[in-house]
């Protein structure tokens, strides 16, 4: 029994007849640092953080096996848009996930409370739990948390809600729609579905949303504030979103010349193709993972964040900020063999990222393999989750999937981009970049767990 709870608990038991709380339920472990908060709590713990589970729902596969097979083959998830009419737009492609029977992942009673993005993310958490072999019932639920990133969350639900409001006035506003329309509903769905009572947070910052979710989870684990974190997230491709992206002129080909498609680092790249999906990492402290004999895909060993200030819809133009995020993330830059790029087939970002990589690695640049998962799954704000799962698999399997669609490398992006075919190689450590327009740049550093 935790000493802090004793007094109030005994009173509570008499007053409200609340059943006796187990120590675990008060959120504090019965250890000395909590008994004597003044002297010890301010000491920072320093844990190693490892990736022990992957949950992927993507346009090129549900579950890590299907996803990885398609990655290595260089399969594109990009197809003509299904589900709504694209006649009014100058683009017609998207990387949509196939029809899924969500009943396979989520309790039917809970399904009806969730909208599509909720179902997608909750399913990816289910896949991650299964893949990690975790028995959540056996864990202290206060020490299990979730950190989700989503750029636009329930954009479709918000749109439905707004249209019903326009059509019928306030009477038409449906409470069920509203409660799922808030961005953190996705995270709440997961917490309720799996009884995750620890840390619970949602980030929404354009294309670096999910990267930030992983940064926060990593930091709390490192400091020993939690044992297990589900980190990642995703986005859905909805009609209102397609409309907004199209009107803002970021879709390929939009008002530009050329053929529609994703081709990161290509000299003829002309914008993004929207995708969707969700990827969840199970992050755990090394002690906890070892204790339960978990399979370890890779170690998450560092994070770097920086901001660029080139404009509200502009990426980092000169690559300085991207370079700084990468340098901050990887304490041993010399061991980095692979960079999973944020390059999204826009003229600006791909050039800036190439500049950033060259600024960091100088003459070593050509030794570092670079590829963009976005070439297969499209670009979406919450793509970091899926890409991080891919990177963990790359480290674990020693394979780098190709960047597809790219034929003529832009001379300004003269990196060692893996084109056409996947490449087998031992990766000591790797960087995942997430760069948002407006200028939030985040790099995550993953290490091969078996390498020293």
């Amino acid at each position: 029994m935790c000493v802090w709870c004793l007094g109030s608990l005994m009173k509570e038991d008499r007053i409200q007849g609340v059943g006796q709380l187990r120590n675990a339920e008060c959120g504090l472990r019965n250890n000395d640092s909590f008994r004597n908060p003044k002297s010890e709590i301010r000491n920072r713990e320093d844990h190693r953080v490892v990736i022990t589970g992957l949950g992927i729902v993507s346009s090129i596969g549900i579950g890590k096996e299907a996803f990885w097979e398609n990655c290595l083959r260089g399969t594109s998830g990009i197809k003509p848009i299904r589900g709504f009419d694209v006649g009014a737009y100058q683009s017609c492609l998207g990387a949509q996930i196939p029809e899924i029977d969500f009943k396979a992942f989520i309790k039917p009673a809970n399904l009806r409370r969730m909208d599509r993005i909720g179902k997608i993310v909750v399913s990816s958490v289910r896949l991650a739990i299964d893949d990690s072999g975790l028995n959540l019932k056996g864990e202290d639920s206060n020490r299990v948390g979730i950190s989700i990133g989503t750029g636009l969350g329930s954009s479709d639900t918000v749109d439905q809600f707004f249209r019903s409001l326009l059509k019928e006035g306030p009477i038409g506003a449906a409470p069920l729609l509203f409660q799922t329309a808030v961005p953190n509903a996705i995270t709440s769905h997961c917490a309720i579905e799996y009884g995750i009572k620890g840390v619970n947070i949602t980030f929404s910052h354009k294309e670096s949303s999910t990267e930030m979710a992983m940064v926060f989870a990593y930091h709390l684990l490192k400091e020993g504030r939690t044992d297990i974190m589900f980190a990642g997230g995703g986005d859905e491709l909805s009609e209102p979103l397609y409309h907004v992206y199209s009107m803002l002129g970021v879709l390929s080909p939009g008002r530009r010349k050329g053929i529609e498609g994703m081709r990161p680092f290509d000299q003829d790249r002309n914008g993004i193709v929207l995708g969707e999906g969700s990827g969840i990492l199970v992050l755990e402290t090394l002690e906890h993972a070892k204790k339960r004999g978990a399979k370890i895909y890779a170690e998450m060993a560092g994070v770097g964040l920086s901001g660029s200030i080139d404009g509200l819809l502009r990426y980092d133009l000169k690559g300085d900020s991207i370079a700084r995020a990468m340098s901050l993330a990887a304490q041993k830059l010399g061991t980095v063999d692979y960079i999973s790029a944020a390059a999204n087939s826009t003229p600006d970002l791909d050039r800036a990222e190439a500049l950033g990589i060259k600024k960091v690695y100088k003459e070593r640049t050509k030794e570092i393999s670079v590829s963009s998962f976005k070439s297969m799954v499209g670009e979406f704000d919450g793509s970091g989750g899926v890409r991080a799962c891919g990177l963990a698999l790359s480290l674990y399997q020693g394979m780098i999937p190709p960047t597809i669609g790219t034929k003529h490398l832009d001379p300004q992006c003269d990196l060692n981009v893996i084109l056409g075919q996947s490449k087998k190689m031992e990766i000591r450590s790797a960087i995942l970049n997430g760069c948002s327009n407006g200028g939030s740049n985040i790099s995550l550093w993953f290490k091969n767990y078996s390498s020293p």
Binding site: L152, L166, F178, S188, A191, G198, K206, F216, H219
Partner: protein, 407 residues
């Protein structure tokens, strides 16, 4: 050792004042900022009130071109940021811009602009400029602030709506702990819009008269708007440049009820946990807590759950701790609620005045604590908590302490 973090700047835009001195004066006088809505036509709604920001002349702060580009939410955020930035004397002192970041909390963000675009689009009456869609992302205000002042440190946006800007303060604190920044701009900004107004309305959570937290007659929340921005700074960095220090930020708790999408866990178990986690993180014992800035939305369930949670942590002593529910004056500002309330909590520590919960007349047997009814109270406070709870039981509790250069 963890780094110690202090607050060196504050800025506010709210229904009861568009600057820190005006805001604080109104709070301690118990001024009600709730009135009839003007930003959209409320005639079709059962309730017609909100805590709307008024007497704010955008042209006094922005050029015509900027006004066209900035959503109402961006404007509030920028105005509060500029006040906080200046009060922290960061406009004069030299600092490394690469080590200054921004983490804001968002609620509905610039949806007011997006609503305007889509209303015209769906009704087909006229064509609105696509530039209104820039506000589609919740990150827009955060980016505006960073770009305006050239801040090149870490940047992100939290999106847990009603607890967003409290969570953002926790995240900003961790950015300093991670060694990525010396100074963080944090808090949040939010503006009224029909989507959130009709949403809370549809859930029958809005009081048609006024906002009366913890009172037996309470019927629900009243939506507000505004911005609350705090400058968090690593203590040594602040001392070195002799910055004005308002208070120390000791730590925070964050957890989930994992109970229901909208309703809080009724016994206050989630509230208890988040407060305990926060106290443990801050290294403070429950006996040291002198005041609590409550979430106090005035919805029937929230206030009971929060009261129960506080009792579960503090036992008999709970009745002695003055609690204030300032949503009675500034409404529930959603994405900026936690930020504005954190500003008020810091001011309480600095000035020794606890703002009241106004419209408190009829005690509720289920809410039987000291809510500082109607009159502010003078008390020397050393440790203060600020609670924020969101939909889905996303709970955050922040712990602040009076600044002491020797301690």
């Amino acid at each position: 050792m963890r780094k110690r973090v202090v607050i060196t700047g504050l800025g506010v835009v709210s229904a009861v004042g568009n600057s820190l001195p005006e805001f604080w004066q109104s709070l301690i006088e118990g001024k009600d900022g709730i009135k009839e809505i003007t930003v959209f036509d409320p005639s079709a709604y059962r309730t017609k009130i909100a805590a709307e920001v008024s007497h704010l002349d955008p042209e006094a702060h922005f050029s015509k071109k900027e006004i066209r580009r900035l959503s109402r939410c961006d404007q509030f955020g920028l105005i509060a940021f500029r006040e906080a930035w200046k009060s922290a004397r960061l406009d004069q002192d030299s600092h490394d811009k690469e080590r200054v970041g921004v983490v804001l909390g968002a609620g509905s963000g610039g949806i007011l602009s997006v609503e305007k675009y889509f209303r015209d689009f769906y009704q087909g009456t006229k064509k609105s400029p696509p530039s209104l869609l820039i506000s589609y992302s919740l990150a827009t205000t955060t980016d505006h602030i960073a770009i305006e002042s050239g801040l090149r440190g870490p940047r992100t946006t939290t999106a847990t709506v009603c607890s967003s800007s409290s969570a953002s303060i926790g995240v900003a604190y961790e950015m300093i702990q991670m060694g990525l920044a010396d100074v963080m701009v944090t808090g949040g900004s939010d503006s009224l819009c029909e989507v959130s107004y009709s949403g809370f309305s549809s859930l029958k959570l809005v009081d048609p008269e006024n906002c009366k937290p913890f009172d037996k007659r309470r019927q629900g929340l009243v939506i507000g708007e505004g911005a609350g921005v705090l400058i968090l700074e690593e203590r040594e960095h602040a001392l070195k440049r002799k910055a004005p220090i308002h208070a120390e930020f000791l730590g925070f708790g964050i957890c989930a009820d994992a109970y229901h999408l909208t309703a809080p866990e009724p016994n206050g178990e989630g509230v208890e946990r988040v407060v305990r986690i926060a106290l443990a993180h801050a290294g403070v014992s429950p006996e040291e807590v002198d005041t609590i800035n409550a979430h106090g939305t005035a919805t029937p369930f929230n206030d009971i759950a929060e009261t129960r949670g506080i009792k579960r942590v503090f036992g008999e002593r709970a009745k002695e701790i003055p609690i204030s529910g300032i949503k009675s004056m500034i409404g529930h500002c959603l994405g900026s609620a936690g930020g504005i309330e954190a500003v008020a909590t810091v001011m309480t520590l600095e000035t020794g005045v606890i703002p009241p919960t106004i419209h408190y007349e009829v005690p509720d047997p289920l809410c039987d604590l000291n809510y500082t009814p109607n009159q502010s109270v003078k008390k020397d406070v050393r440790v203060a908590l600020s609670n924020s709870f969101a939909f889905g039981g996303n709970n955050v509790c922040l712990v602040f302490r009076k600044f002491d250069e020797r301690g």
